[in-house]
């Protein structure tokens, strides 16, 4: 009898846990669908593909479905309506399509005010076509889809011919290197850029040359004081996007930025 009671307790406990786990919402992490569109892709196809990515493999709803983490893009935010109705007015002089595309390619560029965290979307693991599909879907939320087949086809060609890794820009001019690698999306230099990460102004007087080099090669190794909350934000792929010469140009330039 004792053995039966023990078995009953064990099986019963397991059954309760299994039941609870099956009673809650069943969320599966789906694999982002590979897209192969050409220039004759229809608007409906793009929007549908974008919707699937947005609600599934791209993981957008993790934050944009919860208003505490990021603005809700589909149902509206702060009485402003869905993203398609407001994306064209977010940045003066920038249309909706450009704004949305830039927001994804450079997530730190436009952090909405209101205590939100910087966007953690990793554009580098998505193809150019997938990004355009997401843009089309977001435009469709109350707005007009202006993504063209030509843009999609160009992105598809770029995806197909993109080198496995290599410099983002060919220039050896430090400013062009920084602009081409989106460094100024977070760092400020002579009034250009953003104030999210430590400014490039005066960097040479704050840290030595080796520390600057280490900061580029291994961004997560040492975090500047007061910027702990941004740990992990600087893309670790930066060193893969620079040539050895560009790296040294950049290090020399930043080391020369005195007070």
């Amino acid at each position: 009898m004792t053995n039966i009671k023990i078995l009953g307790v064990i099986i019963g406990t397991l059954a309760i846990y299994t039941w609870i786990a099956n009673a809650i919402p069943q969320l599966e992490s789906v694999v982002p669908e590979e897209l192969s569109f050409s220039s004759d892709v229809s608007e409906a196809e793009l929007v549908a593909a974008g919707a699937e990515l947005y609600n599934g493999g791209a993981g957008c709803t993790t934050c944009h479905g919860l208003e505490t983490r990021a603005p809700n893009l589909v149902t509206g935010y702060s009485g402003e309506g869905p993203i398609g109705t407001r994306c064209g007015t977010r940045v003066p002089g920038q249309d909706c399509k450009a704004y949305l595309h830039e927001s994804m390619m450079n997530p730190m560029a436009y952090v909405v005010e209101g205590g939100f965290d910087p966007m953690v979307f990793q554009a580098r693991v998505f193809s150019g076509v997938q990004i355009w599909a997401l843009v089309a879907f977001l435009q469709d939320q109350g707005g007009v889809v202006t993504v063209t087949g030509a843009e999609v086809a160009a992105a598809a060609e770029a995806d197909a011919t993109a080198p496995a890794a290599g410099p983002a820009v060919a220039s050896t001019d430090p400013l062009e290197i920084m602009r081409g690698n989106l460094c100024l999306a977070c760092h400020m230099l002579d009034g250009e850029g953003a104030e999210l990460a430590p400014p490039f102004d005066g960097m040479g007087s704050r840290i030595d040359t080796d520390r600057i080099r280490r900061g580029i090669i291994d961004p997560g190794a040492e975090i500047a004081e007061g910027f702990d909350h941004l740990a992990g934000s600087m893309p670790p792929t930066i060193p893969d996007l620079l040539t050895a010469r560009q790296l040294e140009v950049l290090v020399d330039f930043l080391a020369g930025q005195g007070g």
Binding site: T2, I6, N22, G59, T62, D117, Q122, H229
Partner: protein, 599 residues
């Protein structure tokens, strides 16, 4: 010999025929020779599929590994207590722990072999990639495993031979060595799995595995947090399984003496498990923080993405652990003279635990239909939605930890009467430390609502430090205060209601299930990557399954594990009857001596 004339034509034709045959064979073989061997990326496993097969093998290997790593830790501590206190029952207890260990060891190795062969045959591409990077550590691993096995044999079979004098110290040294080998094995294996979670930033999909720097891959971002988390979790797990073993023996005991022994053993198992459980969430916070710092998207997926509901289930499981552990202690106080003065407090402690469990298990998003959402005024419940965020949950679990620690403290002091002059002042300071720690926890819990999540997650560190500091200081004061304390009576070992033993079974099942669930969480946050953002999973099982499916696999693993453990313990019992220690029923052991050594 061929006959000349009649068979002479054959002599001519035969060489020609052989040449032609060889030529034809060569032509036939040519396409085969031209085909170069291309290794396949994935294999198939019948009925349950490759993913489930590897999952089950890995999980069972880990269950057994956790047990054989956790038990030596407190076996060696129990042996040390026996040496220093000259109480032989601790030595016997340590030996009985080791006997359980011995028979579990081969099961660990068998499941390890099944896992490796499973990886080689079902995931050869991934296995080849990992082997390319980690080959040297794999050789070291098997070498250490070899030494560990033979150290264990020496430790167990030499127990009675090296029982006295300096030989006993040598034997204890073997126990320590066993733990060193076991920990080294764990550290190596952890590096492989944590690399899959958090490969170094310089490793990209285009990095050839032979170009990955070994140490950079080995000591990756989540390696040390996982090491610490697993080290503590193994102690919890070992304690829980020993507790269940003792409960089984207690329930089937034929004599009072046997019942007293297994009551005591069960208490030790529960004490070890709950003590380690108290510090386990702190290691969990660190791991979570490192995951966030490594990759914020991974952290967000873990806490707010498709896995967000997993933490509601985890909260329920941990609530069960705290409630069952405390319940066992409170019931156990019934056999301690003097404990009745603390019993009125238990209902308040229960209230804190229940409120804490309710807050921790509150989901952020309610399951609601359209009408209910309208009635709530939005997706989030105006009151419950506030309790569903990490600020509230961290606060709840820290207060639950403090409450459980208070239960232990009351249990420890139950039959003691302090004789030091500063007893009243000491108790007041202890009370103040509890209140200060609770206040710090509550302050950061509320403040956390007003800052971004990356800042908020850092607050958990301050909450944890306040609780740890309080625990350490209270224990230090208590040790001083109870020095030379008078006994209010002896613990009546064995006089424990049967229902308390079922709490030990629930603890063991819940720990085991929770371990499986956390394994799913750790592995699942990689999503469709074998190695996060480096090696993509292109198999048919690339999508990470929902919790319902995972729970079925976990339950199956727990059931297989417990069945095998039962069988192994039964087989072990056939070979040698356990030695019943001198913990007599109604008990010849003075509680202060026992508790001083145990806490």
């Amino acid at each position: 010999m061929l006959e000349r004339g009649r068979w002479s034509w054959l002599r001519t034709i035969l060489p020609v025929g052989v040449v032609v045959a060889i030529g034809l064979l060569a032509i036939a073989m040519e396409p085969l020779a031209a085909q170069s061997y291309t290794p396949r990326e994935y294999g198939d496993f019948p009925v349950i599929g490759s993913r489930a097969a590897i999952w089950i093998a890995a999980q069972l290997h880990l269950f057994f590994a956790a047990f054989v790593l956790g038990v030596p830790m407190f076996a060696v501590v129990a042996e040390a207590i026996g040496i220093f206190s000259s109480e032989e029952r601790y030595d016997k207890l340590a030996k009985e722990f080791t006997r359980l260990l011995l028979v579990s060891y081969s099961a660990t190795a068998i499941w390890g072999a099944i896992l490796v062969f499973g990886l080689i045959t079902l995931y050869p591409g991934l296995w080849g990639y990992l082997a390319e990077i980690f080959a040297p550590s794999m050789w070291v691993y098997v070498g250490i495993f070899f030494f560990e096995s033979f150290t264990l044999y020496l430790y167990y079979y030499g127990w009675d031979r090296w029982k006295k004098g300096r030989a006993k110290w040598g034997h204890w040294g073997l126990g320590i060595l066993l733990n060193v080998w076991g920990t080294a094995v764990m550290l190596i294996a952890n590096s492989w799995l944590t690399y899959m979670m958090s490969p170094p930033g310089e490793v990209t999909p285009d990095t050839a595995p032979e170009m990955v720097q070994f140490w950079s891959a080995f000591a990756n971002a989540t390696w040390m947090p996982i090491n610490i988390h697993r080290f503590i979790a193994n102690i919890v797990f070992g304690g829980a399984i020993v507790g269940a073993y003792s409960a089984y023996r207690f329930l089937s005991a034929k004599t009072d003496e046997e019942r007293a022994h297994y009551d005591w053993m069960g208490y030790i198992g529960n004490f070890v498990a709950i003590s380690a459980l108290i510090v386990l969430p702190f290691a969990g916070y660190w791991l979570g923080r490192e995951i966030y710092e490594y990759n914020q998207q991974m952290g967000t997926t873990m806490m707010g993405g498709f896995m967000s509901w997993l933490w509601v289930v985890q909260a329920f499981l941990i609530a069960v652990l705290f409630l069952a552990g405390n319940y066992y202690l409170w019931v156990g106080m019934g056999r301690i003279p003097g404990a009745e003065r603390f019993m009125p407090y238990t209902k308040w402690m229960l209230l804190v635990l229940l409120i804490g469990a309710a807050v921790w298990a509150t989901p952020r998003n309610m399951i609601a239909n359209r009408a209910e959402i309208t009635a709530m005024g939005g997706q989030f419940h105006p009151f419950l939605g506030v309790l569903g965020v990490m600020s509230a949950k961290n606060t709840a679990v820290n207060l639950m930890i403090l409450t459980t620690f208070l239960s232990f403290l009351l249990y420890r002091r139950a039959n003691k009467k302090a004789v030091v002059s500063w007893e009243k002042r000491g108790t007041t300071i202890q009370g103040a430390l509890f209140i200060i720690a609770a206040a710090v926890v509550l302050f950061y819990g509320v403040y956390g609502y007003f800052v971004p999540s990356i800042v908020r997650i850092g607050f958990s560190v301050y909450q944890v430090l306040a609780v740890i500091a309080a625990i350490i200081l209270v224990v230090l004061i208590d040790i001083g205060m109870m020095r030379g304390a008078k006994s209010r009576g002896e613990i009546r070992w064995g006089e424990m209601p049967e229902r308390s033993q079922y709490a030990l079974f629930i603890l063991a099942v819940t720990f085991t299930w929770l371990m499986g669930l956390m394994g799913f969480a750790r592995s699942g946050i990689r999503q469709h990557w074998h190695v996060f953002e480096v090696v993509r999973d292109t198999s048919v099982d690339a999508a990470t399954p929902a919790l319902g499916y995972a729970s079925i696999v976990i339950s199956a693993c727990v059931l297989i594990f417990l069945s095998m453990v039962t069988f192994i313990f039964w087989v072990g019992g056939l070979a040698e009857k356990p030695v019943i220690s001198g913990v007599g029923a109604g008990a010849a052991v003075s509680a202060p001596a026992v508790m001083d050594q145990e806490l």
